[in-house]
């Protein structure tokens, strides 16, 4: 018996993007959504481990991939010490009864054509080969335990006859009837009304006390995670940015993204209003995740070494030119559609203008605006008829141990910062 019921190492899950028409056959077009992009974590027996993040961060994909409901692109998954990463479905099947999942939407996770009883006994019939009478007895028992009573009556009902809370209890009963060792609970209370949410959470805690399963608890709700998780991992665009004991992370978040999330949660006390320090913009496209730290374009405390690249400069111009006065004054290097970016480079064709003068305008702007982005610019040059803005490559980013947790951020770990660069002309 190993310490961890689930150990994930370097997990990657890419979803290839289907391109329209002829683009599919052009070279260099193998684009993919980087849903999960190299994450490692392990679940200790009997703990509640929270995967926390905003929509699109890869938390649900992670939950499904560790159960092999999705095929991992790379990495390894150990379940109870057994490598299940590439296990054949026939070998996996006996293990499946020990790992279950609770989905977010109770209305969509029960077959409308099956009675509640049929849904709940189904896993027993599949995995344990019991008779229908035995299965029914077990189902009635677990139904009473999850608060579906009178169980005899509800056993014969269809999902449509039940409320949302009752359906979620049925889904939980179905997951728990096999007494699994690992339960992936994917936003189990997100669809429920506030006044009954706590009851379902209490039920999950009660079932854990009774049967001791390990929960992988997936949620976007930091308050719920704080309440029920022992350890949490904060995910952003397919990466774990901070991971450790929930108590420590909530008391003293280290990663700027964790801080931002905690700051943004509305707090039900009108005497505590105030302007919040919020990151700008939204989560970028996971098909083209930002270089370096993926949070750098939105980070309020970023450094010049965090991963600034060509498109950050183009985004900067676009925002800058929201002001009509500035846009008019800098019309020579506009509009923003004239700029192209690739990797560390942003460039603009000079067209009929003198590229040297355009480069001077860009240099003036860069010198005026002091920001981690402009400080990361290595040079503004003229290459034939093109103005080129080139960034220095980012510093290497590694998860580091910081005060009892793992943090992936250049602010920690004693990375030497390079001195502020001077713009070469």
């Amino acid at each position: 018996m190993t310490d961890s019921i689930l150990a994930v190492e370097g997990l990657v899950k890419l979803f290839p993007v289907k391109l329209p028409g002829i683009q599919r056959f052009l070279p260099g077009r193998g684009v993919a959504v980087h849903a999960v992009d190299g994450i490692s974590f392990s679940l200790r027996r009997g703990e509640i481990f929270g995967l926390v993040g905003e929509s699109g961060c890869g938390k649900t994909t992670t939950g499904r991939t560790v159960l092999r409901l999705l095929e991992p692109t790379a990495g390894t998954i150990l379940f109870d010490g057994v490598d299940i990463t590439h296990m054949k479905e026939s070998e996996l099947r006996p293990l499946r009864r020990r790992m279950q999942i609770i989905f977010q939407d109770p209305h969509a996770s029960l077959n409308p054509g099956m009675t509640i009883g049929q849904s709940i006994i189904d896993p027993l019939l599949i995995h344990e080969g019991v008779t229908e009478e035995e299965a029914k007895a077990a189902a009635l028992e677990i139904m009473t335990e999850v608060g579906l009573s009178p169980a005899e009556q509800l056993y014969l009902k269809y999902p449509a006859d039940l409320s949302g809370g009752q359906k979620q209890r049925a889904v939980i009963a179905r997951a728990m009837i096999l007494k699994p060792q690992l339960v992936v609970a994917d936003e189990p209370v997100a669809m429920l009304d506030m006044s009954i949410r706590s009851r379902v959470l209490e039920l999950l805690l009660e079932l854990k006390r009774r049967y001791g399963p390990t929960y992988l608890f997936i949620t976007h709700d930091l308050a719920t995670a704080k309440f029920i998780c022992d350890r949490i991992a904060i995910m952003y665009l397919g990466r774990i940015v901070e991971m450790g004991p929930a108590k420590d992370i909530y008391a003293d978040p280290k990663h700027p993204y964790t801080k931002a999330l905690l700051e943004a949660v509305p707090y039900p006390d009108p005497t505590r209003r105030g302007r919040k320090v919020l990151p700008s913009g939204e989560v970028p496209d996971a098909v083209y995740p930002p270089a370096g730290c993926r949070f750098h374009p939105r980070c309020p405390v970023s450094l010049p070494t965090c991963g600034w690249e060509g498109r950050d400069f183009v985004d900067f111009l676009e925002l800058r030119w929201l002001s009509p006065e500035i846009a008019a004054a800098e019309a020579a290097i506009g509009p923003v559609e004239g700029w192209k970016s690739k990797g560390l480079i942003a460039s603009r064709d000079a067209q009929d203008a003198d590229p040297g003068r355009l480069a001077d305008t860009v240099r003036t702007i860069v010198a005026q605006v002091k920001s981690p982005m402009t400080e990361a610019i290595d040079a503004v040059e003229v290459d034939e008829e093109t103005v080129v803005v080139r960034f220095r490559p980012p510093a290497a980013l590694e998860p580091k141990e910081v005060e009892g947790r793992i943090v992936e951020c250049l602010l920690y770990g004693g990375q030497d910062l390079e001195p502020a660069p001077t713009i070469r002309t």
């Binding site: 506030m194 006044s195 949660v265 509305p266 505590r272």
Partner: protein, 318 residues
């Protein structure tokens, strides 16, 4: 303070195969100039129906009773064309899911031009100038005017919706769960935008939500709705600090927030609005219910200045 909207004894009944659904059942309130009034309640309490009733955009064969006055005008007596003039211009609406409210075949520019020219006789060029300004104030550059809704992120779409609602400089903005489909950081961004707009344009905001945290952060007053009725209405500080109705107490207690010490939930389930419980509708779930609560409907009483509730035992909770 001047009132922008006044509802008196508002009732909305839907006809369904199972019978009358009393989604809104005798609701009275006022919205004052420049204030934010929150309407808070759980799924199916009638809060969205209330918002739609104000704009008269309910489905056909819906029965609406009671009086609705907007800036002193009786909305019920207005001709449909006059109503259309007010709707979208003086009263604007922001929905929960911006993707389904923007036409996928229209560019952002098309949306704005259509909206502006439906209400004012201006040239297309002038409409575009105004659209660019409204969008820029939401942080959306002119370069994106020709883009289609699917080319924007969820937060951007909601910004576009907000820009479109305020471009006509409305007196009253009704926002129905404006941030529910958004992530927490973008939600906070949108709430700040709404607060800024309200200050800048001096408009009133009716914010419909299930999220008490949002109410606490942006509303001046709040009405708590349960099973088609208001159970409590008052200043946000009063209602949060000293809730009078046991439902409000339970709801506040059941919010899981970052400083929660225990899990709490209200017993039972919200009632079926086809056949709601008699008298006080909350009595089957109320920990303080006594005999009178089954028999007699509680009166709407002002327990403190400006703080109303409908509970027989309201005095006990002061």
């Amino acid at each position: 303070m001047e009132e922008v909207l006044e509802a008196e004894g508002l009732r909305v009944h839907y006809t369904t195969r199972r019978g009358f659904v009393k989604a809104v059942d005798g609701v009275s309130f006022r919205v004052y100039e420049g204030e934010t009034l929150g309407i808070v309640g759980e799924t199916g309490c009638g809060k969205s129906t209330l918002g739609k009733a104000i704009l008269s955009i309910l489905p056909p064969r819906t029965k609406v009773e009671g009086a609705l006055r907007f800036q002193g005008q009786d909305m019920g007596s207005l001709r449909p064309d006059k109503l259309r003039e007010i709707r979208g211009k003086d009263i604007a609406l922001i929905f929960q899911d911006p993707m389904t409210r923007l036409d996928p075949l229209f560019t952002v520019e098309d949306h704005f031009v259509e909206t502006i020219r439906a209400h004012e006789h201006v040239s297309k060029a002038e409409a575009i100038v105004r659209a660019v300004k409204a969008l820029a104030s939401m942080g959306i550059p002119e370069s994106r005017m020709k883009h289609y809704p699917h080319e924007f992120s969820g937060g951007m779409r909601q910004r576009i919706m907000i820009a479109m609602s305020v471009v006509m400089n409305p007196k009253l903005l009704i926002a129905d769960e404006p941030t529910t489909s958004l992530d927490v950081i973008v939600e906070a961004q949108i709430l700040e935008i709404l607060a800024d707009l309200r200050r800048a344009y001096k408009m009133s905001l009716l914010l419909i939500t299930h999220n008490l945290g949002i109410v606490a952060e942006v509303c001046d007053r709040v009405a708590v709705m349960y099973a088609g009725k208001f159970v409590e209405l008052g200043g946000v500080r009063d209602v949060f600090r000293q809730p009078i109705h046991p439902y409000t107490q339970g709801l506040l207690h059941s919010v899981i927030h970052l400083e929660s010490k225990e899990l709490y939930s209200i017993a039972g389930h919200p009632p079926d609005l086809v056949d709601p419980p008699p008298a006080c509708r909350f009595h089957p779930r109320c920990p303080h219910a006594k005999e009178i609560c089954h028999i007699e409907e509680p009166a709407w009483v002002e327990f403190r200045p400006g703080h109303f509730a409908a509970c027989h035992f309201g005095k006990d909770f002061l």
